[in-house]
């Protein structure tokens, strides 16, 4: 008996069996006789009792009760493990498990019923369902065999003997389906029945239970049949539906639209059009069907040569309803819709170009429309510009919602060409027909699609690289104008004609961006300064602010490429110091703000995101910033080593340095930041070679520098800057050690030409950064050794503090007097503050000023 179950039972039961053995043993000494039979009966009675309660609970759909009892049952079953191991899992137990699972699944499927259930019950249902599913896995074989019994013995409740016979039958039956070895299965089934017989007679309750079970099973069977039937019906339905679908196309719908024989003319079509339009926006309207209807109508009007007027009108409506398809503002168009939309707009433009006698406009009233073919030109209400703008927005939305690292994104991006094409065509159209306002708007669209693209063709041309035989090269060349010229033309038109501030602001920013992207630093800077945007950009709306930020960043990067480190640093300072560059550039949401904003705000912010292909590389940005900060800060730090009031040029950079210092173990740099920190350390010592090797190497090249269009030039500039700044740092740091130093040596050390070294040192001397003089005949720098000692430094600090003290004291006095600027001559007040840079130069003036 136990052979089958020993293999079939799960590991859990084995584990628990060892634990359960203790109980009988403990009591076993005195009641050894009882243990053999009593616990058996006792345990099973307990089980059956619980099962009964469960069945009752099932009947009244009390799920929480069910769950409770099931847990009890489970515990009781564990307790009776020893017996089960010996005797096998009782059939009634398996039966309950199977029934319960079916019952639960049934309930689960019944959505309506679930809705009616109260909260507790519903919760209990889901927990119980999960539990039983898990639990039943342990009894899979038994349950399967039980179900087979069910299937092939609809009337097993009649008598025990029958059951017995049949059970043998299904033993053999199951061989085909179960796939288990014949012996085992058969034995299992029959033995189970024997076992049943043996215990069923223990009490009546059990018997009745079995009867009930049988009844249940019967019902179950019936239900299954019904299900099957339903399935068949469903299939039938499906077939029917498909047929309908096949028959649906336009041919069939046309007669629906117009009664047969109706003379199709303008009036009828317009009436129909209005009919369809009226349904628009209503709740039950099938939006896709509506689009179909419009198409059909277009087809009809085309067939009947009703003229372009009506066609244009219909096309407008088609496009509008395409946009309407998504009720949710956040959702984006599906690919096929998008394609359709592009086609439609293209067609519409075709028509408009072909027929110059069509007037369209928003301000044409419905009733003054002229759609019929007549001598008068067509007048159609509608605005193609709005449609195209909407299309552009949809395109942005699609790009925003596509995973930027997928092939899909690339595919979608290919549509950009079409979008640009449409905008170009519209531009041509409006240039001849539209008002200046409209022209401005469409120009801005055009600019928006141009400003962030690097014009490789123009770049190559400027480098004098022509005659490349690539076919696309030829294509590009045939395209004509440089983007710079186009930008210039469009932007200037907008500057002159635009009357809304927003378009002009955007145009200026894009123009600057474009200049900066193509390394026209001075133009970009001048434009930025002339625009005075820095003063009032905080009043602009967020998308414009994002554009502004992008422009500033691009400007900074441009300055860096040109070697204007200070400008680069200043331009990037604001964006970088906030630590939210990603957010400010609209290139992603910051996680830490998640709690602060609610879902609605998040949606709005998501809508503002810049599509991936327009992104500015954040690592590049940070690297440019950090490197320029390094080039500024390291010499400054060296020069102001003792200054108590030394100010940080870049907090961000200092932060990185501190992070680097905190590292317990310094390995070779990995990330871009670590590279910069390592380079800074090298520079601090005046070791430009190491610094150079940290800033420019394979890793940094691939991460950052190769992203620049003129990468070689930028690298050369960088090397030079590193050499110069290292020289300065070296002089600041070590000048106190030297009496004099030969410029030739310096030029050798830093691999700079002698005149450069000369000029750098001269500049330092003029700026009173370096107390030295140049000895022309010997080409040496003679140090003056006027660096203050630490005691002197301290005295200077003290003097400063005393200055502050006096000032504070004066304030108290002023208050007493009730007048500001009494007693002392307040002009002197500035004296204390002016002397911030006591350090080197200011030190001498001290004697001159009197207080």
């Amino acid at each position: 008996m136990s052979r089958f179950f020993a293999t079939g039972s799960d590991s859990e039961s084995e584990e628990s069996s060892s634990a359960d053995e203790i109980t009988p043993k403990a009591t076993g000494t005195t009641f050894s006789k009882h243990i053999v039979c009593c616990p058996l009966r006792f345990r099973f009675e307990e089980l059956t009792n619980i099962i009964k309660t469960i069945r009752n609970a099932m009947k009244i759909r009390d799920m929480s009760k069910c769950l409770e009892e099931f847990e009890q049952l489970y515990r009781a079953f564990l307790k009776s493990k020893t017996i089960v191991d010996k005797e096998g899992v009782p059939q009634f137990y398996i039966r309950l498990l199977a029934d319960l699972e079916d019952y639960l699944n049934q309930l689960w499927e019944d959505k309506e019923g679930k809705k009616k259930m109260n909260k507790n019950n519903a919760k209990a249902l889901s927990t119980l369902r999960q539990k039983i599913r898990k639990y039943n896995k342990d009894f899979e074989t038994e349950i399967v065999s039980y179900k087979e019994v069910l299937n092939c013995s609809p009337n097993d409740e009649e008598s025990e003997s029958e059951e017995d016979e049949e059970s043998e039958d299904w033993g053999s039956d199951s061989v085909d389906s179960g796939g288990e070895s014949e012996d085992n299965e058969g034995a299992a089934a029959s033995l189970a029945v024997v076992f049943l017989k043996k215990y069923v007679c223990f009490n009546l309750e059990l018997l009745s239970l079995f009867l009930f079970d049988g009844f249940k099973r019967k019902r179950h069977k019936k239900m299954e049949q019904v299900d099957e039937e339903a399935d068949e019906e469903g299939e039938g339905e499906e077939g029917g539906w498909e047929k309908v679908k096949g028959g649906v196309p336009l041919v069939k719908e046309k007669p629906k639209m117009f009664a047969k024989g109706t003379e199709i003319n303008n009036a009828v079509v317009i009436k129909k059009l209005n009919e369809i339009l009226q349904a628009r926006g209503k709740k039950g309207t099938d939006r896709s069907a509506q689009i179909e209807l419009f198409h059909a109508l277009a087809g009809i009007s085309n067939e009947n040569n009703l003229g372009e007027g009506i066609l244009v009108k219909i096309k407008f409506n088609i496009i509008a309803s395409l946009y309407d398809y998504n009720t949710n503002l956040a959702a984006f168009m599906k690919a096929e819709m998008w394609k359709k939309c592009l086609e439609c707009i293209d067609e519409l433009l075709d028509i408009l170009f072909e027929n110059s006698n069509i007037f369209i406009g928003e301000n044409i009233a419905e009733d003054s429309e002229n759609l019929a073919i007549s001598d008068q030109p067509f007048r159609v209400r509608g605005c193609i510009l709005t449609l195209v703008e909407r299309m552009d927005e949809e395109f942005t939305k699609i790009m925003q919602n596509t995973d930027p690292h997928s092939q899909e994104y690339v595919d979608n991006l290919k549509d950009e060409g079409r979008v640009c094409g449409i905008i170009d065509r519209l531009l041509q159209y409006l240039e001849s027909k539209g008002s200046t306002e409209e022209v401005c708007r469409v120009y801005l669209r055009r600019i928006m699609h141009t400003y962030y693209k690097f014009d490789y063709k123009a770049h190559r041309r400027s480098l004098g690289l022509q005659g490349e035989t690539k076919s696309e090269q030829d294509q590009e060349e045939s395209e004509g104008e440089d983007s710079a010229i186009i930008m210039d033309r469009l932007c200037k038109f907008i500057y002159a004609k635009d009357r809304t501030d927003r378009i002009r602001t955007c145009a200026i920013l894009c123009h600057i961006y474009h200049h900066a992207l193509h390394s026209r630093w001075y133009q970009a800077r001048d434009l930025m300064l002339m625009s005075h945007l820095q003063d009032n950009i905080q009043h602009a709306d967020p998308p414009v602010q994002i554009l502004y930020n992008r422009t500033m960043v691009q400007l900074g990067i441009c300055a860096f490429r040109q070697g204007m480190i200070k400008d680069a640093h200043n331009a990037l300072l604001d964006i970088q110091s906030s630590g939210r560059a990603k957010e400010l550039l609209g290139q992603g949401l910051l996680m830490r703000n998640m709690q602060e904003r609610n879902a609605e705000q998040e949606k709005i912010e998501k809508r503002r995101q810049v599509p991936f292909h327009m992104h500015i590389n954040l690592e590049l940005l940070e690297c440019v910033y950090l490197v320029s900060a390094m080039l500024l800060e390291i010499p400054y730090m060296a020069a102001h080593e003792f200054d108590a009031r030394r100010r940080m040029i870049s907090k961000q950079f200092h932060h990185q340095l501190r992070v680097g210092e905190r590292q317990p173990l310094l390995g070779p740099p990995e990330s871009m930041r670590e590279h910069v920190v390592a380079a800074s350390k090298a520079m601090k010592m005046g070791d430009w070679r190491t610094c150079h090797s940290f800033i420019i190497n394979e890793k940094m090249n691939s991460k950052v520098w190769d992203l620049f269009p003129e990468t070689q030039r930028v690298r050369e500039m960088l090397v030079r800057k590193i050499q110069e700044e290292s020289l300065r740092t070296y002089l600041f740091t070590y000048s106190s050690v030297y009496d004099s130093i030969s410029m030739a040596t310096l030029s050798e050390m830093f691999e700079l030409e002698l005149p450069t070294v000369h000029s750098i040192i001269s500049k330092m001397i003029i700026n009173e950064e370096l107390m030295a003089s140049l000895d022309q005949p010997t080409q040496t720098v003679v140090m003056h050794r006027t660096e203050p000692t630490s005691l002197q430094n301290m005295t200077l600090q003290l003097a400063e503090k005393l200055g502050g003290l006096v000032e504070n004291n004066e304030r108290v006095f002023d208050l007493k007097q009730g007048v500001y600027g009494g007693y002392f001559n307040r002009d002197q007040k500035g004296g204390y503050q002016q002397r911030q840079n006591y350090q080197r130069g200011g030190y001498r003036n001290q004697n001159q000023s009197s207080y």
Binding site: S790, L791, M794, T795, L798, L802, L805, N808, V812, L815
Partner: protein, 330 residues
């Protein structure tokens, strides 16, 4: 009984302080054994009053003990010590205390408080300040201080508000009075000293001509700077207070004016005037910052300045001397 001999009603001025060499040596020894760096050692002075001078004949140190030594009772220890000293027939009258100092930083709240309690309990008590660093440079630096009667008054009142201090007319220079010290020995010791002087070589005194002074100055400057910072803070605090006060005064004035106008109007209408009792509740004057700390800081700063001045003038002298010597030798 004999305690009050020379010191009746506290009116008698303490003109002179006679210190036995033994006391000085004990203090120095105490510091050398236990004091380190900026750590401070303290002890009790014993002696007696003779006419208008206070004679300090003996002393004993307070033992160093850590914070977690809760059982230690300082008062008990002092009593025990004095009792024991009495048994061996040594002067056991408590006449003050001594303390070492670090670069002349001793003017503090702690000193003020303890000296006040001493002087409050024992009229004639003094505090001896011993500067080990200066002493190490070759000149014994030992100074005796007492709180001035004015400061005693203020401390008794425990009112350190700006007004009270103003009324008392006290400045940092009037806080402490220095008592001249005379080191007095028995003739036998004098004889011994003279004998030792004969024997000592000049080499021992070379320290005096040491020209490297920057370290000492740097330290002093640092401390001075720290105090100046403190002073600035105090001033800012006071400044804010003053401003708040004036602002409130103005508001109060406005309020009163308005109320008066209203009342006159009411009177003309024949209504009873509004009461004026809540004015002080409505405008609680801002908490005045205690000015004692400022005074103390000023005293300390003054102290540092004196030190630095003395030190630098000495050094200048040395430099001139060195120059002269160099000129002479070359």
């Amino acid at each position: 009984g004999d305690r009050l001999n020379g010191f009746e009603n506290g009116k008698t001025q303490l003109l002179c302080l006679c210190v036995r060499l033994q006391v000085v040596l004990k203090i120095i020894k105490h510091y050398q054994e236990e004091g380190q760096g900026s750590e401070v050692v303290q002890g009790v002075l014993l002696g007696l009053v003779v006419e208008d001078r206070l004679e300090i004949t003996n002393c004993f140190p307070f033992p160093q003990h850590t914070e977690d030594d809760v059982d230690f009772d300082e008062v008990q220890y002092q009593m025990e010590m004095m009792r024991s000293l009495r048994h061996v027939n040594i002067d056991h009258l408590h006449v003050g205390w001594y303390q070492s100092t670090y670069y002349g930083s001793f003017v503090s709240r702690a000193l003020l408080d303890s000296q006040f309690s001493y002087q409050h309990a024992i009229e004639e008590s003094v505090v001896l300040i011993y500067d080990p660093i200066k002493t190490a440079q070759g000149s014994l630096c030992l100074k005796a201080y007492r709180l001035t009667p004015k400061l005693m008054e203020i401390c008794k009142e425990k009112d350190f508000s700006p007004e009270a201090l103003k009324k008392a007319c006290i400045g940092y220079e009037h806080m402490l009075e220095e008592v001249p010290i005379v080191i007095k020995n028995s003739h036998l010791i004098n004889v011994l000293l003279l004998d030792l002087q004969e024997k000592s070589t000049v080499a021992d005194k070379h320290e005096l001509l040491n020209l490297s002074s920057s370290n000492h100055l740097e330290k002093s400057l640092q401390l001075l700077m720290d105090r100046v910072d403190g002073m600035s803070q105090e001033i800012v605090k006071y400044n804010t207070y003053c401003r708040n006060l004036t602002k409130q005064q103005q508001q109060k004035q406005q309020y009163l004016q308005r109320r008066q106008q209203e009342n006159t109007q009411r009177q003309s209408r024949g209504e009873p005037p509004l009461p004026e009792e809540d004015i002080n509740k409505m405008f609680k004057p801002p908490q005045a910052p205690p000015r004692m700390d400022t005074l103390l800081i000023a005293g300390q700063v003054n102290n540092y300045c004196q030190n630095i001045k003395a030190f630098t003038s000495q050094n200048l002298g040395k430099l001139f001397m060195a120059e002269a010597l160099q000129g002479h030798s070359s």
